[in-house]
Symmetry: C2
DNA sequence: CAGAGTGTTGCACTGAGTGCAAGCATTAGC
DNA sequence: GCTAATGCTTGCACTCAGTGCAACACTCTG
């Protein structure tokens, strides 16, 4: 529990500041013009950096929107491992995925981002790609909960459960977006899961 | 039921021939050098056409590998609608998806293609994208089988069931590839589904 | 044989993404 | 406090995918 009174060095601070500046600028432009219609050059210019530097901060245009799904995945995995051993795979997944809905997430921004997914195929594609990596990330823990010997790489069961859960998540978010943000994402998720497992 | 003894016009025949030629050439190059390392220029040159013409036949490099997933989706949907009304959504989906494993599919080629997916993110991405469109395609029929009033766009249930089934399919194919083509895809699919619904 | 329709191609362009090397600021070592 | 290593920014040049356009060639029909 470090409350970090340590100043993280000028370099680190400016780096974070620039990162945030790019993100804000880009999301604004995306909201105004749409994701595809906005070029990296525009973002760089509006953020006051060079095009080359943009690609120093983000590997791709999509990454600005996706955020650090890598780190998020690790957090979910940790939450997953922290669940009581008595919980089933589905129960643990449900609880772990709920941590994604932290208090730090701003509903309006989230709704905007969800809207971008709807008309930017490349964005959806990269998002799904990341979920594939989550599959590998969560697999060991789910295998444990399913009582599968670890290392049975050809066993599809753990991956299937994870993939199904993530699919339900995506669909719940999409339905939430369609409802204009009024429906409860957790209820939608539970409804999706119930339909799958009925 | 037209068994088309009608010669489909020279134009159509050459078009098909060129299409096939490009596909064969491209798959050979992909197998030799890998998908990403092969450029469209190389394919065009090897197939004896111009780069520009390549994009007349295929919308993207990925499309050569993916084939016509659009048409395939329609076929699966038709198979889905043809299933007895008494079948549950899952039963109907299982049967409809089995039609994908026709006698026309060559195991060696399939194995090669499955291998390409493994190390070409853009390929996986486009594949997943197509499955999203299948979701919309199958949704009406699945809604019917789930007893959901059609047009309830915000209802996540039908989409969830379809997404889960397609996820199980992809995972079964992937596990089949990992087994070197020895395992039975249908068994793997059933195992995946059973794990999800247990 | 003339003209409509369709296919092929070259050309020029946009836009994403990368490797490299030079210049500048920060940081750390003495 | 000076110096040297480190790292950030930037411009430049490049590759590759994909698209719009216009010229040309081929085939089919009247």
């Amino acid at each position: 529990m470090d409350s970090t009174p340590v100043t993280p060095s000028l370099r680190e601070r400016t780096r974070r500041a620039v990162h945030a500046e790019i993100t804000d600028t880009a999301l604004r432009l995306f909201a105004e013009q749409g994701f595809e219609a906005t070029t990296v050059d525009q973002i760089a210019a509006a953020a006051g950096i060079s095009r080359r530097s943009f690609f120093h901060y983000f590997g791709s245009k999509e990454d600005v929107v996706l955020g650090d799904l890598e780190a998020l995945g690790l957090r979910v995995r940790d939450a997953l491992e922290a669940r009581p051993a008595a919980e089933t795979a589905w129960e643990a997944l449900r609880a772990a995925l709920k941590t994604l809905q932290g208090p730090d997430t701003d509903a309006v921004t989230e709704l905007q981002i969800a809207g971008m997914y709807a008309d930017a195929p490349s964005l959806r594609a990269k998002h799904l790609e990341k979920h594939l990596r989550w599959q590998e990330l969560f697999a060991p823990e789910i295998e444990r909960r399913l009582g599968i010997a670890p290392g049975a790489t050809a066993d599809p069961r753990a991956r299937a459960v994870i993939a199904a859960a993530l699919a339900c998540l995506d669909i719940a978010v999409e339905a939430w977006r369609e409802s204009g943000g009024t429906a409860d994402p957790v209820d939608l998720f539970d409804a999706a899961v119930a339909a799958v497992r009925a």
